[in-house]
Symmetry: C2
Amino acid sequence: MKLFLKLKYVGTDFCGYQVQKDKRTVQGELTRAARELFSYECDVTGCSRTDSGVHANTFCVTVAKKGENDIITDIDVIKIPRAMSAHLPDDISVFEASLVDSDFHPRYDVKYKEYVYRIYNGNVRDPFEMNRSLYLPQTLSEDAIARMKEAAGHFVGQHDFSAFMAQGSQVESTVRNVVYADVAREGDIITFKVSADGFLYNMVRIMVGTLISVGLGKIQPSDIPEIILSGNRERAGMTAAAHGLYLNKVIY
Amino acid sequence: MKLFLKLKYVGTDFCGYQVQKDKRTVQGELTRAARELFSYECDVTGCSRTDSGVHANTFCVTVAKKGENDIITDIDVIKIPRAMSAHLPDDISVFEASLVDSDFHPRYDVKYKEYVYRIYNGNVRDPFEMNRSLYLPQTLSEDAIARMKEAAGHFVGQHDFSAFMAQGSQVESTVRNVVYADVAREGDIITFKVSADGFLYNMVRIMVGTLISVGLGKIQPSDIPEIILSGNRERAGMTAAAHGLYLNKVIY
C-alpha cells in the first residue's frame, strides 16, 4: 500500500510543484517532510505539474519508500495529516490521508481535474488579494459577465485545444474533453471554473485571457468555436497570470 | 483642506504603521507615494499606531503639504484612490478619498475604532490563512464558543482595563468604554469583534488570549469581571499573536 495525500499550498513562494535543483518546490518540501516523518528516503509522486505561482486548494500525491511501491509506518493514517503538516512550511499543509493500492498512480489515474481562476475586479487593488487573484482594473458590467459565461460554454465538449496551448509545447494529442466551464461573479471576484480529463500547457490561463478579451468586447462569444477550430494560438487571448490559478479538485 | 484617505494593508511585511529609520513602514510608504503624486513633501498623519504584523481593513490618514495644513493639487479627489494606489506597493491600497477641514485630526477626532481578530480552528493549518489568522489546533466545541461569547460580553461598558494592557505601558488613563464585544464562528474561522472609544497597548490581543483560555476551560466567563477589577495583567490570558488582528473600522 502507498500513502495517498491531499494537500493545499500557496504557490507564491514555490518554483512550481516539480523538484528542480537549488529551487524551492512543493515536491522538494514534501520529499524532505516524508523523510523526516518516516525516517527513510521516500518517492513523492504528484497528480500534476503546477507552474511557479499557481496555487492548489487540492493537490494529490502518493508517498512510498524510495524505489519501492509501499510505505512502512506505525503511524495511524488518521494522524498523518497533522504529523506531515508539522514537518511542512506554513505555505503547504496536508489535510487528508489514506492508503491506496501499490499500483495506483496519482497522475495517470486522474479522471478529471477542476481548476479555478480568480479575477479581482474592484475599483482599486485589494492588498489581501495580492498574489491570490489577477487584478483587472476595467470594471466589467453584468452584460460583459454574461458574454464571458456564453463564451466559456463554447469550451465544453471534446475539442482539439491547440489554440489554447503555449506555443512550443510537446504533446501526443491536443484533444481534451472539457466537462464544464463557467464564469460567475460574486462581489468584486469573478471566478472561472473548468473541469476536463486533462489540460494542455497553459490551457486554463489562455482560456482566461480569451474570456477577459470577451469581457472587454475585443472577442465575441460566437468567435470561440472558430478560434478553437483554427488551432491557431494567436487567435486566442493572452496567457493570464499564474497567480490567479488554483488546482481545485482532482477526481479519480 | 487636508486630504483624508481610507486604506487597507496586509501588515505582514511592515514594521507597523509608524515611520522608523531604515524600517519598512506603512507611514513611510504613504509619505513617499504622496511626495511622488503631488511633487512636494507631505505630512501623513495616521489614526492609530498598529504593530508589526497587524493588518488593516480600514486605516485612516490625512495628507497635507509638509509643515502646512492644506493640500494643493489639480487631481480630482475621486481619482485619488487609484492615483495614490499606483504609487503604493501591492500590500497597501487607498480605497477612498475626500477633503476635510484643516483642523481635522485623524487620531484625536476618532470616536470609536473597531478591531477584528481572526482565529483559524480547522483540523490542520490552512496555508491560505498563513499570517492572516491565529491557528488554534485544539478544536473548540459550540459550548466553548458560547462561553467565549459570554466572556466577551463582560468586556462591554466603561472599565479600567489595566489588566488588559501590556506591562510597562505609559498612559494617562486606563479607562476605556467598550461599545460591543462579540465572538462568532463561521466554518473554521472564529472571529472576535470589539469596538471602543480607544484601546490600551495590546488590549485586543490580551482580550483574545483571555477568550482562548475561556474556550479551553482554563478561565470561566464569570471570572472576567473580577479579572478586570483586579487590574492585574497576570490574571488575564496571554497576548495573542499580532497576525490575527485587523483594524476594521474607524468612526469619527
